[in-house]
């Protein structure tokens, strides 16, 4: 691949506002991430279920799942800022409900920053319709960050934890 090809690819990516692109050709692997730090790589988030329409390229699915335009001034403010992907893997809320860090008010938190967690370990509870849903980790690693406050309402897709895998 020569410089002209690269320029052309970058131009196309910019025109179509594609944030992530990967290709392999002639023994060369090219990976482009535009706007680094703006949004985490959705593909690595273990808990989110992102439906990819049949036949649609993966790029399209990502575009559908995350709004391409910035939110307007009138839009309700998102509950927490998007974390950078570099720290680890983002665990997002799979349901709507109220976030609790411990099994009950008198018990210690399920996990704290710095703890190492195993696959299947309960990270938190999200209460929905009077049911306490235990959210299990799909990763093994170190808890680097906790996002919601105890008792804070969360919506589908809201960041819960960042876990740094070994």
């Amino acid at each position: 691949m020569n410089l002209l090809d690269l320029k052309e690819i970058l131009q196309i990516l910019e025109e179509r506002d594609i944030t992530e692109f990967e290709m392999e050709q002639g023994g060369v692997k090219l990976r482009v991430c535009r706007g680094a730090g703006r949004a985490p790589a959705l593909a690595q988030a273990p808990v989110v279920v992102t439906q990819i329409p049949a036949g649609a390229p993966v790029g399209a699915a990502v575009a559908n799942a995350l709004p391409a335009q910035p939110a307007s001034a009138d839009a309700p403010a998102p509950p927490s800022t998007e974390p950078a992907a570099a720290e680890g893997t983002l665990v997002r809320s799979p349901i709507v409900g109220t976030f609790y860090r411990s099994p009950d008010p008198n018990s210690p938190s399920f996990v704290s920053v710095g703890d190492t967690v195993k696959v299947g370990q309960v990270l938190c509870i999200i209460e929905a319709m009077k049911l306490m849903n235990e959210i299990e980790s799909e990763l093994a690693g170190e808890v680097v960050k906790v996002y919601p406050e105890n008792g804070q309402p969360v919506q589908y897709g809201d960041p819960l934890f960042t876990i740094r895998t070994a």
């Binding site: 439906q51 109220t98 929905a128 589908y156």
Partner: protein
């Protein structure tokens, strides 16, 4: 009165409900799937909760997510709109259990009218005329022949598990019945998995006339006149109007009275619509009842001057109807064209981004839409992007207003059925009111031929 209403829907109806809530000073909560994160209903609501990924079953049909969203925002009422969960007796029940008011009828009425067989039986009991037919599924062709002779030919054989126009056979002569019955059973088995077939009188050249009703929790029931919905393709309505040219004042009073009796018989509360088939001789037959606010409610609002969605909210809040039957008056004529994101001639959906958008306006024009420039019309949802309504002192004026509105309505970036509407409004048969439910079937082949040439 409620403090906060959660609108369990999207698109134009979510906005419609929101306008009513804002006028009443109620706070609004929008729920949305990830595909609708930039939707206008999200941006204009006081609060918004993302409830799931784009697929309906994981978002707009996801009862736990919706109830949970109501809980975390403290909403005390849920308006389900139309489609989605609007006729879910289950959602209505869960709302009751969670102390959230479902803005609509009670679960029993929803369940009863949702079961076509039970609904028909309830209507017969209430003395409402129904399409004569077999009391239930027919086991054998002898029974079918007997029932058909009693009803009188022509008859129509229908698959019990069918719907949307599928699994139906018209039989005009007695000698053809046995063979058609056997064939209908085989088709039903193949298409729907059950060979259950029943017989009904075939109403030739019928019109689809529906009556809007509104009932409160104190036993008051009123009707707000009819809507003419015969312009449909494969049982999807395309153009609706009020009043109907085929319904003179006396017939309106009779049908209205019947609709009120039907609603009262099932202890109905809130907004509902009774659908009838009207034959050429002025006989009408109950078809089904829709236990929700409908897409085409706007044409009734235009001719009666009443806000049906605000009335729904008042009724749900326990108030008496704000008007009685004698207060219901009709003025002028209203039309509605459903603007869909589809090819105007072959009806294939046309999702995409709207690059340029202009809404018509001026006297007698009402547009209910969520579409705007830059709006993403996604393939996940219904193709209807706007309801273009006009009102005039006469039908001719309403038609003239509709034509000039369609001519200036700009939707670029996707295909729409605006050209189809334009052709229909030029058609002498439509203008003269010479149509029935078979209209589109006759109209389309000619128009497609012209468009292709």
């Amino acid at each position: 009165m409620f403090k906060k209403v959660l609108i369990a829907n999207r698109g134009e109806i979510a906005l419609r409900v929101m306008w009513a809530c804002k006028e009443l000073g109620l706070k609004t909560v929008a729920v949305y799937s990830e595909a609708d994160a930039n939707g206008l209903h999200v941006r204009f609501a006081d609060e918004a909760v993302c409830i799931g990924p784009p697929r309906n079953i994981e978002s707009y049909l996801n009862i736990p997510a919706i109830i949970s969203a109501a809980e975390i925002t403290g909403a005390d009422a849920i308006h389900p709109g139309y489609g989605f969960l609007s006729e879910s007796a289950y959602l209505a029940e869960i709302c009751e259990a969670c102390n959230i008011k479902f803005i609509g009828p009670g679960p029993q009425a929803i369940r009863l009218m949702g079961d076509k067989s039970r609904a028909k039986k309830a209507m017969i009991k209430a003395g409402v005329p129904v399409v004569p037919g077999s009391p239930g599924v027919l086991d054998d062709e002898e029974k079918a022949v007997k029932v058909a002779r009693d009803i009188g030919f022509p008859v129509i054989l229908k698959a019990s598990a069918g719907g949307g126009g599928r699994g139906m056979r018209i039989v005009r002569e007695a000698q053809d019945l046995a063979q058609n019955f056997r064939a209908a059973q085989a088709e039903a088995q193949a298409a729907f998995g059950v060979p259950d077939v029943y017989v009904e009188k075939y109403v030739a050249g019928p019109r689809h006339i529906e009556i809007q009703v509104m009932a409160d929790s104190k036993g008051n029931v009123v009707h707000l006149g009819e809507r003419e919905c015969s312009i449909q393709r494969r049982h999807q309505k395309i153009i609706e109007e009020a009043p109907s040219l085929a319904v003179p004042e006396k017939l309106r009073r009779r049908m209205g009275r019947t609709a009120v009796e039907a609603a009262a018989a099932v202890q109905y509360v809130n907004a509902g619509t009774i659908e009838f088939l009207l034959d050429k001789d002025g006989n009408y037959y109950f078809m089904e009842m829709n236990t929700r606010i409908q897409v085409e409610h706007g044409v009734t609002e235009l001719v009666t001057g009443r806000d049906l969605v605000k009335e729904q909210i008042h009724v749900a809040a326990g108030e008496a109807l704000s008007f009685s039957q004698k207060d219901v008056t009709f003025s002028g004529h209203a039309l509605e064209c459903r603007i869909n994101a589809e090819d105007p001639w072959n009806f294939t959906p046309s999702p995409g981004t709207i690059r340029h958008f202009f809404q018509p306006g001026g006297p007698g024009v009402r547009v209910d839409t969520f579409a705007h420039e830059g709006c993403e019309i996604s393939p996940y949802y219904d193709s209807m992007i706007a309801k273009l309504m006009t009102h005039g002192r006469t039908r001719a004026e309403a038609i003239a207003r509709m034509k000039r509105s369609l001519d200036v309505m700009v939707v670029e970036g996707i295909k729409t059925n605006i050209p189809l509407h334009r052709k229909i409004l030029d058609d002498p048969d439509f203008v003269a009111g010479r149509f029935d439910t078979g209209y589109m079937e006759r109209f389309l082949p000619q128009k497609k031929a012209t468009a292709a040439s």
